[in-house]
Symmetry: C2
Subunit: 232 residues, 2 copies
């Protein structure tokens, strides 16, 4: 029994395409790595040397303009795949937003392994297609939504991603609470806004009684319907 059998994402990550023997072979190639919040795993523009699975934590994918503006182009959660198989250069950096744990492989090793395990490539294809869909929906937000619509949409997506299941909040209209893995600046970098605009939208929603902000990172959605209405 390999250590992978104990892995919390064993049955959700692309590893689920593999049986026990295959997992053993794959795990022999990889290693666990812990990242502190703020630490980068991959830098923009470098050759693709490694790929990874997220075991725990939240990480951002981000690109920058030459003069330092940043845009977060993706956010990955446990069981998500990181990196660029088939070589080339990575177009975006990968940085931990929270303390994280990832399962890292040499890109070359992974490519070779995947080539021999079509089931793994198939799983990866499914994930990549889903990620592409999500990214394209995000483009509509960036290109066509107003600041208030962006923030409302963001909070709704966060609540779907982060609210602990079974908080007796399954019925529509119930409160939802979660802890943001983002700073205000990072939210701005996700939405294509400035930190001030994000802050103002947050306080506006708080004053309107739509949300509560118990602390900087905590959000309580008091009126999901109102938020949905704002999201357009």
């Amino acid at each position: 029994m390999s250590t992978c059998d104990l892995c919390v994402v064993r049955n959700r990550a692309i590893c689920s395409a593999l049986d026990s023997d295959e997992i053993k072979a794959l795990s022999a190639m990889g290693r666990k790595r812990d990242l502190s919040a703020g630490e980068s795993l991959i830098w923009e523009g470098e050759d693709s040397v490694l790929v990874a699975n997220v075991v725990d934590g939240v990480l951002k994918l981000s690109t920058n303009t030459e003069d330092g503006r940043e845009q977060i182009v993706g956010v990955v959660y446990p069981s998500d795949f990181i990196g660029r198989p088939f070589g080339g250069t990575t177009g975006h950096g990968v940085t931990a937003l929270t303390d994280s744990r990832v399962c890292v492989f040499s890109r070359r090793d992974f490519d070779n392994f995947a080539a021999e395990h079509p089931g793994l490539e198939r799983k990866l294809l499914q994930r990549t297609l889903a990620e592409l869909d999500r990214t394209r929906r995000w483009m509509l937000l960036l290109g066509r939504l107003s600041a208030s619509e962006k923030v409302a949409s963001f909070l709704l997506e966060m609540s779907e991603r982060l609210v602990e299941p079974g908080c007796a909040t399954d019925e529509p209209g119930a409160k939802r609470a979660f802890v943001l893995p983002f700073s205000r600046q990072q939210i701005a970098d996700v939405l294509g806004l400035t930190i001030e605009t994000v802050s103002r939208q947050f306080t506006r929603l708080r004053n309107a009684g739509v949300i509560d902000l118990p602390s900087r990172r905590e959000v309580v959605i008091r009126d999901p319907d109102a938020l949905s209405a704002e999201a357009g």
Copy 2:
């Protein structure tokens, strides 16, 4: 010898992963279809019933907000793949920008065929990863660039995509001419701007001597370096 052997994208589309016999089997499942400019192949939100390869022409992938704002989230050219394998709903419509010809398959048939041909899935994975990279770079444009930077970047990408090779314009700094497959409104929908802003940026660049606009759809880049400088 199947008709595919004569196909102009035979060696560039995902079909290149298949040998002559396999192509014959695949082509038995598919059929050619011609689209006029403006005609849609797939509508946003419908179940994924078909996939296709672009043989000729340019098509847009687009989503709309409820109140009618549009964002073009992708543009596909000959040899590109269209559609959402593995079922689900398509998050964006597919519409021909120019008169086009595509090679269409039932999504279900294609899925089954691909499951038996890992080489095809691998090719599709490579394409999807490349498309994801391109889409993420586009997010930086939508979220962080100014109108002038957006338009300059757009013109540069168009010139790379559309300039006929061998126009004696290989040396940097040389003029490049091409015909846009987009109307002004569509350019606005690509860049997340309004038609008026796009138009003003075009005339500004023309007045600055950076580009020429012989007709509505034609563009000549007179000073590529200046354009690059504006793109950031």
